[in-house]
């Protein structure tokens, strides 16, 4: 069950790295977050710890419902549909993602912990989306994928207290919210959310 969910996470992230339409990327993100939420809930069911339940429910509520709603709303409002010119095009992105996953699973091939490997793969894909895309909104989704990787990492590695875990998740959500607000301001000031226009600050 958990293996199947991890596969969904990896496959969705591979698709997301190459998609151009922001709606499709958001759909991929929903699948991914739902899978992560279910994994955490399953762990909670197996171990009987309340921490896992709360973390899982928090993930599902924020990342499957609230954030995609905000993204879809702003996509409609800002009238953006797809990435026009990519810094790294779709095909190369797929290849980089593949290499990233291979590296993640290759380095840690001794460890039995699939969470860790998937988490590292998600870090690579998230950073790729943040660096290789021009639309601010795609960069934000890249950050959210990175954040998903952190959640996976957390569940596999550590046994922290509930307050601390909730703090980490809450701050991730706040950061996404702040990015969202900033995208609105950017759109109003630049008439576009293309980061190509960010060229005023030079020496």
């Amino acid at each position: 069950m958990i293996e199947a969910l991890l596969t969904i996470i990896l496959i969705s992230s591979i698709f997301m790295s190459g998609f151009r339409r922001i709606k499709l990327i958001t759909a991929g993100f929903i699948f991914q977050s739902a899978a992560i939420g279910l994994i955490v809930l399953k762990l909670g069911y197996e171990t009987g710890k309340v921490d896992y339940y709360i973390l899982g429910i928090l993930t599902i509520v924020t990342k499957v419902i609230i954030i995609p709603l905000i993204i879809n709303k702003s996509v409609k409002k800002l009238k953006i549909n797809r990435e026009m010119e990519l810094i790294v095009n779709g095909f190369v992105s797929y290849i980089i993602t593949g290499i990233g996953i291979m590296i993640a699973f290759g380095i840690l091939n001794k460890s039995q912990d699939n969470f860790l490997k998937t988490g590292i793969a998600l870090f690579i894909i998230g950073v790729l989306l943040m660096v290789a895309r021009k639309k601010a909104i795609t960069q934000m989704i890249g950050f959210l994928i990175f954040e998903n990787g952190i959640v996976l990492f957390e569940t596999s590695l550590s046994k922290m207290s509930l307050v601390i875990e909730a703090g980490i998740v809450f701050e991730g959500l706040m950061l996404a919210l702040i990015m969202g607000i900033m995208i609105f301001h950017i759109n109003r000031t630049f008439d576009s959310i293309n980061t190509d226009f960010f060229e005023n600050l030079k020496e």
């Binding site: 046994k159 900033m182 600050l201």
Partner: protein, 486 residues
């Protein structure tokens, strides 16, 4: 007890701008609260000065001599900047640059920002330190983009993307770090005071990886080159009081978090090489910033690069690791906080009078704004380390440290970079202050006297530091040094 009082104070300071409509009242509450916070910090300093650390709430808060240095920096710069903000925000509203609502929003974010920094310095939980750092990212992102124009939004977006990646990498490092201690009692492994006493982790190798990730990730926030790329943009576009606060206090604090992990790592046998991270990143910061300072056209940007340089100096001093050098590094973080705040606040005064950040548009400041010109020159002397100011001693101690440990190449590189920075600063500030263009009459500007008090406070604090150098100050810093070196 003190922690609860601090918490209530910050709660009041954060809530006031949300509840009351009166901006003046908010400003007064902020200044008054900052004064009380400074008083409490002084009380804490006297309690800790004996050398024994305090701990509250089942060791969630833990105050030792090292955090006291940071507390002193935060509280004193906070009060100076709140006094400055009162006039600054008033002026901005009077000139209709921002609305009343945004003025209140400024105070809300500002107090939240200070709260998070205080939290980092007080807490003992290593993940809570990370939460505090992330909180400062959240609050400062809007403060940097406060003016909502093209430049400020660009820099804010850059800041939020680069710093959130950096701090995410830092979290990964912290998680691996904690995992390496998973053979121990789960309720204790997040406590710094527990980890610092404990030098047998499960795997030394994963500690090594974790510390490198933490250094690179949180080093992004500390503005160490080559992860500094957000810093010149953010510090030059933020409102001047915010740049002063970020440059003087926040960078220090990020370095302080790294230092906390370094103290744990250092005691583990086989990991002494981690000090080279500090030395190499410090040297790279020094080289990149000193050459960048030479070719800046924007004075706030130049000050921002100078912050990168000073963080490089502090990191180098910490990395060299002999007692003298670490003493120098801690003293330098204190001096840099006051000196850089003074320069940024003066730059803010000049900016609000001239409305330009370009160096070539400003001439003969000694005639148009004589008081600010004097403080600009004094600030420059403080920050470049001219005697008799304390920065001279701190930079000198670090040189002594490098010679003592036999790193002659680093000594040479360090001295060369300091010389370059001095030359760059002299070139710009002498031009700004004394250059007269033929045929132009320079009249005294009215803005000159408006916001002088905070600058004077900064300078007075530096002088007081000079006078106390052999007494309280050195014993306080020596206590902190003994935490790092022993």
């Amino acid at each position: 007890m003190y922690i609860i009082v601090l918490g209530i104070l910050f709660l009041i300071m954060i809530l006031t701008p949300l509840i009351f409509k009166n901006l003046k009242l908010t400003g007064f509450v902020t200044i008054f609260g900052a004064t009380l916070v400074l008083g409490i910090v002084f009380k804490i300093i006297t309690l800790v000065s004996g050398g024994s650390p305090l701990s509250y709430f089942n060791e969630f808060f833990y105050i030792d001599s090292l955090s006291v240095v940071q507390l002193l920096i935060i509280a004193s710069i906070n009060i100076i900047v709140s006094i400055y903000s009162y006039q600054y925000i008033g002026n901005e509203i009077k000139e209709k640059i921002i609305s009343l609502k945004r003025g209140k929003f400024y105070y809300f974010l500002f107090n939240f920002f200070v709260f998070f920094m205080m939290f980092i310095a007080l807490t003992n939980n290593i993940v809570a330190m990370w939460i505090g750092l992330e909180g400062t990212t959240l609050t400062t992102a809007f403060l940097i983009g406060f003016n909502i124009n093209k430049n400020s939004l660009e820099s804010a977006w850059k800041y939020i993307i680069i710093c959130s990646i950096g701090i995410g990498i830092g979290l990964i490092g912290i998680l691996i770090f904690v995992n390496a201690y998973s053979n121990q009692d789960a309720s204790e492994i997040l406590k710094w005071s527990h980890l610092a006493k404990n030098s047998n982790p499960q795997s030394t190798y994963s500690i090594k990886i974790a510390f490198t990730l933490i250094f690179v990730g949180i080093g992004t926030k500390a503005g160490l080159a080559p992860m500094h790329t957000w810093l010149p943009d953010a510090h030059s576009e933020a409102p001047s009081p915010v740049s002063a606060m970020m440059s003087g206090v926040l960078l220090n604090l990020a370095l302080y978090v790294i230092l906390r992990f370094y103290i744990i790592t250092k005691h583990i046998p086989g990991l002494q090489n981690t000090k080279w991270l500090f030395i190499i990143f410090g040297c790279v910061s020094l080289i990149i910033s000193s050459f960048s300072i030479l070719r800046q056209l924007n004075y706030k940007r130049m000050l921002a690069f100078s912050s990168v340089e000073n963080m490089g100096i502090i990191a180098l001093g910490l990395g060299v690791g002999s007692k003298v050098a670490v003493f120098g590094a801690l003293l330098h973080s204190l001096v840099h906080a006051f000196g850089k705040s003074m320069l940024f606040l003066t730059a803010g005064n000049i900016l609000s009078a001239y409305k330009t950040k370009r160096i070539d548009k400003i001439n003969s400041l000694i005639k148009t704004m004589p008081m600010n010109a004097v403080f600009l020159i004094l600030g420059m002397l403080v920050i470049t380390g001219a005697p008799p100011f304390p920065a001279f001693f701190s930079e000198y101690y670090i040189i002594v440290g490098t010679v003592e440990t036999g790193n002659y190449f680093i000594t040479a590189l360090y001295s060369f970079c300091l010389l370059l920075v001095f030359a760059g600063f002299l070139r710009v500030f002498i031009k700004i202050v004394f250059n007269t263009e033929p045929g132009v009459k320079y009249a005294k500007m009215e803005e000159d006297k408006e916001n002088i008090l905070p600058l004077a406070l900064c300078f007075v604090s530096i002088i007081i530091m000079n006078l106390l150098m052999n007494g309280y100050l050195s014993s306080m810093i020596n206590n902190a040094v003994s935490i790092i070196c022993d």
